[in-house]
Subunit: 418 residues, 2 copies
Amino acid sequence: MARIVMKFGGTSVADVTRIKNVARHVKREVDAGHEVAVVVSAMSGKTNEMVGWCREAAPLHDAREYDTVVAAGEQITSGLLAMTLEDMGVTARSWQGWQLPIYTSNAHGSARIADINGDELIKRFKERGEVAVISGFQGVVKETGRISTLGRGGSDTSAVAIAAAIKADRCDIYTDVDGVYTTDPRVVPKAKRLDKVAFEEMLELASLGAKVLQVRSVEVGMVHNVRIFVRSSFDKPEDIDPLSNNPPGTLICNEDEIVEQQTVTGIAFSKDEAQISLRRVADKPGVAAAVFGPLADASINVDMIVQNVSSDGKTTDITFTVPSADYARASEVLEASKKSIGYESVDGATDVAKISVIGIGMRSHAGVASSAFKALSEKGINLRAITTSEIKFSVLIDEAYTELAVRTLHSLYGLDKA
Amino acid sequence: MARIVMKFGGTSVADVTRIKNVARHVKREVDAGHEVAVVVSAMSGKTNEMVGWCREAAPLHDAREYDTVVAAGEQITSGLLAMTLEDMGVTARSWQGWQLPIYTSNAHGSARIADINGDELIKRFKERGEVAVISGFQGVVKETGRISTLGRGGSDTSAVAIAAAIKADRCDIYTDVDGVYTTDPRVVPKAKRLDKVAFEEMLELASLGAKVLQVRSVEVGMVHNVRIFVRSSFDKPEDIDPLSNNPPGTLICNEDEIVEQQTVTGIAFSKDEAQISLRRVADKPGVAAAVFGPLADASINVDMIVQNVSSDGKTTDITFTVPSADYARASEVLEASKKSIGYESVDGATDVAKISVIGIGMRSHAGVASSAFKALSEKGINLRAITTSEIKFSVLIDEAYTELAVRTLHSLYGLDKA
């Protein structure tokens, strides 16, 4: 017997037929003796419909009212799933954020979960064998009693936070992919599904992970040590063995649980990058703040930052990346700050890509990055910039070489499917 | 300065364009210095859509989950209207049943309002000039914290109950008719809109009134003495004078407020009636219970009941009406109870109609009914049965004569438009 949270996204509950399918997934787990909390999103398309109404009603709308409107989507799904389960003979009840309650910050539209009391749910598991069907994405602000939402994709975070609150053995995220892959299978057909990924790796896998589940949910999982299992919602409910020790999917967990550590876990990449280089910047204390302060004030996200030690002790070059969409705006900001920063010239490029190699094993293996540099140079791929961290290194290259670089590194680190 | 409740139904808030129109109605009243609470229904069609999903999910669904699902409709409208008002510069916020809270009984799906605390709303009127946008139709069960709904049309009752809670001067019901008429204008084109109707009359106007607002809301208005004003939602918001003492519409109020009492206020009729007569029923104590007990057990609503004093002291005839739809079932019930009741034969007809003449003035005017009997007989209309109450009398006639009878009585009592 285990205690599990099962999370289903909007596509999985798009209509009543699919909600019935979800109910069969839930019933399977209940029949196997598990204690189950289900977290659901709004029916696919409903949130967009409601967001559209909000925009039409008021271009600059009150975020509290926006939350009131869009939270209705999850409310509908939770009620429908609860009644479907009851119709199948499974004891169940729906819970809205304010009923549980799921307390959040008052940052309406992108609130953070502050506190969930799981005692009532646990009591009902024990006393009635009752399945909790919980509206994801939403909560309530304790101080005001207003409905809040966590922002798009927030149901993943709801699920993991609820799993932490009820001390669940596992949080199953049912999604339209069957797990996390070593890289994007559309680029590298030989990409393999990972059985296990450490939380830290999952956070660094960014571009790969973002398609699978909300980054914030991984952070919550890491802090509260909630085992997150990404699995397919397309499998027939009855084809899944609820007692299997190794069901198909990817477990995101503490690294201690990963016995056979690979040096490299996955290769992520992003073409949505632009490079900006400031030439002959005065090499003095406070120059980095002078450069990145105005960009932060303009809400421009800076990613890779490379600054070399100056050769002459007077000036240096600073290179960094920003999202392609912000390139023009970033250039303007830098132009406006030219005097306060003090640089000679600025140049940049939008036809660049960032390739990241991620693996916890890197920490204890030397030469992981250097073998990559060698392999890429053998393919004639020039490295514009390099950054490294404990479990990841990234290179910035010409965008045209993206696929070649990813495939080369994927083979290099033995990630290709047998 | 007045304190008013404004209630808008599903048609008035069917899309964002119409919600903006509603907001203009509200702004007009706010600009005139009034304190305003608005009660809204779900967008037209949305409730039906959600009810359809519930039926598809589970034919016999848990009423608590049904309420959770359908209450989402009003939640969406209240949020959209609040943000629209704010966009127009009107301070506003939405309130769900559980937020105010509106406590109800736990009869999910047809709950009754038990208690509303209006203090917070009044405080916000005074301190912030804030418009309260309240979801109609829904409430919360105090003991369980579950969402409840009042049943179809319940938003009218929400509005009147909220008006009572905040001691409003008036509860304006904006609807697709511009008031209550002396009879159905489709039958009698000369029917006039009534300026004022007493609560008791409105309750008796049943068939006429039901198209205008929920009967339960009139009961609540009568108990708490809430002046209910039925008015058109089609009037252009800016064409209405918010300070007028005599705006177009019908005021439902205490009879004290109606200075010029008419003897007859209106003529109601219903073709949805069936007549059943039990012949030679033993005239002994308990016979009425023997007849109507089994019908009540079968949830068949009995309306007119006529029982004459028996001429021989032994047997009598009992005639009553039931809804046409229940006629066959009622006949079966009576057949099954034939022994316990003790009657000779049963006959009936479904091609009958009930015509009701309503007027508080009747109490102090003799001969009101007899003039009707005379007028109808002059037209050759046979009266199958007659019942009377303090402010109403009804006759059962052949259905074919319905329109003729209504027109005849409408003229007789001087209700025709000048």
